[in-house]
Symmetry: C2
Subunit: 271 residues, 2 copies
Amino acid sequence: MVPSAFLFHFLFFFSLLISFSFSDSDSDSDSNSVGPTFHRVFPRPLIVEYPEFEAGLRCGAWRVAGEANNLGAWRTIPEECTEYVKEYMTGKGYAVDLEMVSKEAEEFARSVPLGSDGKDAWIFDIDETLLSNLPYYAAHGYGLEVFDHEKFNNWVEKGVAPAIEPSLKLYEDVLNLGFKVILLTGRSERHRSVTVDNLINAGFKEWDQLILRNSDDQGKRAVLYKSEKRSEMEKDGYRILGNSGDQWSDLLGSSVSVRSFKLPNPMYYIP
Amino acid sequence: MVPSAFLFHFLFFFSLLISFSFSDSDSDSDSNSVGPTFHRVFPRPLIVEYPEFEAGLRCGAWRVAGEANNLGAWRTIPEECTEYVKEYMTGKGYAVDLEMVSKEAEEFARSVPLGSDGKDAWIFDIDETLLSNLPYYAAHGYGLEVFDHEKFNNWVEKGVAPAIEPSLKLYEDVLNLGFKVILLTGRSERHRSVTVDNLINAGFKEWDQLILRNSDDQGKRAVLYKSEKRSEMEKDGYRILGNSGDQWSDLLGSSVSVRSFKLPNPMYYIP
């Protein structure tokens, strides 16, 4: 999506700035360069300073750092990135990124040979992986507000989270290829019924297992809880070939899958 | 950096397109939506179709997928992303991303308590982590050409790769904090001397060990070679707290560090 009015405003003034900069030449010095130093091997870059552009670059770098698991634990998105995250989540950026991850996962799923014992498994997380809570987060600052368990639970209990379409396509593809689908979520066991209804209404069917946090799992860090559950799957004879999740804590730890697929999520972080 | 003439051209026509689209209203349908389906919970996004913008989105998604380790092995960058990768690498995008990773690594380095035995280690990869081969890749299509060992070795043997400045800053910071720095590179032992000279000329000093591939390591996949070397470090009593590399094969495998930092690199992939 093009961020409409904001982008139009921005591009218009940006074009003006660039025209000025062309006549003003490259008066900016190298002193604020942070990349490799080239001593004029390359032509000097034309640097246009523009606060919103700079914030966009920083917020883009912050988002990519999150996707690459470079960030420490964080509770809310950076305040200066409020508009950036909103534009990303409601625009084409998020959609195209979801498509890319789904396509890569599907290519892997098609390439890997499956056994004949029905024990090849693909794990899916639920929130921001199969189901989207974007309507909730849109009403709560896209991650700018500190996470509120009670409010979020009220949303979950409505059972109206829409499907993430590229994940639904991947889900159906891996089922058709013969994988066993295992759903592994941080949601509580008490939300089993509403979660099942929500999943089915959104188009997800035929899972092999749906694993939610039971009373023993409460308070455990996600990466430990999910590693323990994957370890149990392996003990049950499953070969975990693929794992799709929007948090690194869905994917790392022990008993990790052959290939992991990190779906984009700049709105919240679960350790 | 602003991609100068290209961006100016692009923004100018883009602004025109947006003005047209404002009058033309949102005639584009929802049919090509790939994200979550919201059934009008949100206002319909204004979608402007523009080939270069679309390619930019796809190439951005491809780059982020690489940083998130979602891509399978690849030999060259996608042809449509040639201009995108060039703009990213020579522009502010790469510089800001490098800064972000270095800053996060430094924050972690400052936060973690060190022992008094001098056995807290930080591992750095060399190519595209401490030293930049961008001058070489600029002459070889920024990753569009298939990797040529002989040509690349000729470049390495010149010993003129510049420092990646944010990594040099991190390097000095972790040394000052009391970490032992271990350099672990895929370069061959026969390049030890030129590598040492290049590192020192670029400002890197006081490493504890410089580990290169010896004859036993040739032909091993990087992820195995580096895991084995990290395992040896652990046997020598080192605690590997930080690890900085531009390839996931620098960071994954066994004996992984407490925190890993993935530097950006959309130009090549080492399995």
